[in-house]
Symmetry: none
């Protein structure tokens, strides 16, 4: 049984995470101060440090939570989908909107990782989740290849490419490109291109 206190702590941690998410998904890590987060959440700076070990821990938590949610959704909408083509299209949609929200956070995270500012433990947790997801998608692609629906390329490699394309398709620097204003149209076009290529048959 989980005590009331414990539930409250979990709730508050989530509250802080949400405030941090609001800021960190719109501004780069370096431009968000711990004070900013505390102020938005409506608590003192010190309080944050009761729920997270340090600023990087907050970021890592957001990355991991995002990935977990995405994985669950992929499992539901793609892995369990018997039709590989619609499974892949669903996946593209999930990825697209996911990175539309989380790109800034992921960008910040990989930067911090490069600087070796992030503890190995958190890096491992995230890598685990990333690997898991690519495997799920590779499995779907493999299925499609066996069913002769997809071209016969290395499924893992293709999964990685799709992953990367979408991550960066929503990359922050894109904010002033024309397509960013009509995300659905962009997604549709992406699907057409990915499925059929740009060459006329």
């Amino acid at each position: 049984m989980v005590s009331l206190k414990d539930k409250e702590k979990v709730f508050k941690k989530q509250l802080i995470a949400e405030g941090a998410y609001e800021l960190l998904s719109n501004k780069p890590y370096e431009a968000v101060t711990v004070d900013d987060i505390a102020r938005l959440v409506g608590c003192g700076k010190g309080t944050l440090y009761q729920y997270f070990q340090n600023k990087d821990h907050i970021l890592s938590y957001l990355v991991l939570q995002g990935l977990e949610n995405l994985c669950a959704e992929v499992e539901k909408q793609c892995v369990k989908n018997p039709d590989v083509q619609s499974a892949v299209n669903n996946y593209l949609g999930l990825l697209y909107y996911f990175y539309l929200d989380h790109n800034q956070i992921f960008s910040s995270w990989s930067r911090r990782k490069m600087d070796k500012s992030i503890s190995a433990e958190w890096i491992n947790e995230v890598n685990e989740k990333l690997r898991l997801r690519v495997q799920m998608v590779a499995g779907i692609l493999e299925r499609g290849i066996k069913e002769k629906k997809f071209i016969a390329v290395d499924s893992c490699e293709l999964a990685n490419i799709i992953e990367t394309i979408f991550q960066d398709l929503t990359f922050s620097s894109a904010e002033d490109r024309p397509h960013s204003k009509e995300p659905e149209k962009v997604l549709d076009l992406m699907k057409v291109v990915l499925n059929n290529g740009i060459l006329v048959r």
Copy 2:
């Protein structure tokens, strides 16, 4: 007539830019100090401020110079190429290797831009160049569509998508993905997918 002094100034500015490029293309902006650059270039910190207004100016200069070089290359290898299909494939290659080198710098730049740390003047200059290039590519695609070689989609939008895909394909966070070790193979696969899609005909 350009005086000797002016030539010297240009030369020295380029020297500094090269040193800065070496550092800024391998580490995020925040992890590179002005001291680092000065030390690598072999001059005093103060000297940098005689050639650039501030640290952000150095970054902007690198971005702009990179784009200019790329534009010139695109003009030569793509715009002037009568065969649209090989023009596009050349462009993919140029983009791919360009971002392989310049991704960190572009990532840093867009982050700074978001923080409103970068002066409007430099942002405009860069946007100008970006727009110019997309237009060049859109022109090629348009040509291909007219020749019935490419599917009939909005050429501008498609140009943007290609642009973004490649920028992010080389995104820094990719450093531990499997494909990062064999860039040529990745590029080939990208071309296949982009040309023909993943669906078997």
Copy 3:
């Protein structure tokens, strides 16, 4: 008549003091957090503040209690001892082992006192006890001088010097000096030197 509640309070205060003693006699004041003490004692942080006004109060309490215990022992083993020479030697032993235990605490205390962090009231209480003890020893030395057993110097001053020597003999910085591993031998040597000096007669 003392109520049961009062007895409980005294008992609990002592419990806290013992936990604090364990930590504060091994680490400098600054390195021991109120949290540490509460955790060792097995109660909440807030509880400590019901028995002590603040962290400094805990320290002062330990100093005072230590001194009181020592005074009682000195009274028993030295003041009431008819043989002045063995009285003094007993005193040296008491002092030596007392400071072996309490040095860190005394060091912390005097540091806090210098910072004016400690309330005048507690300082006075401690000074009172210190004075009392020096007087007891001075009394013994005086007796020895009258009995022509000790050299005729100012007894108060000599008492102070002995006090200080022993306090600092066990000073924390000594931890890597050779003698720190054989305390009894050190004590013996101290006694010899103090009694007879280092000159051969």
Copy 4:
């Protein structure tokens, strides 16, 4: 040849060290902020960090410099003195006044060392110097024992004890003891006791 700039740097480092000495020899390390030192020296906080790696480095520098000066003095006044008894008495005087000045700093230093806050390199440098000095004194005592002027005890141990006695004789907590106001008288008494003991022959 040493350049003018280098000389200036050494001079300024010394200037900062002197300011820091003034504060750190009167207050415990924790009670002195980096700001305090900078303000006293008359420079910005950042300047200190150009001359010292961090706050602990300043402390270590003071400790080491103090020890070096003392060692030089001991060499001159004691080691080279042919009369062992006056050599020892000179040593007592040097030690006494040295610790009168440096006690707070040494106390702070050993506290930091305990907390493992101080880099191993600096600890080694200081330990080296401490060992050197004890050896010098042990040599003198040894000489005295051979000349049958001192009692035949382990010279190293005795040197250590003298060292410790004097370090702590001037220990900060002593500031309100009566003898602290007349340092010369205390020193004289110490010499008498150390030479002849307190027992009447």
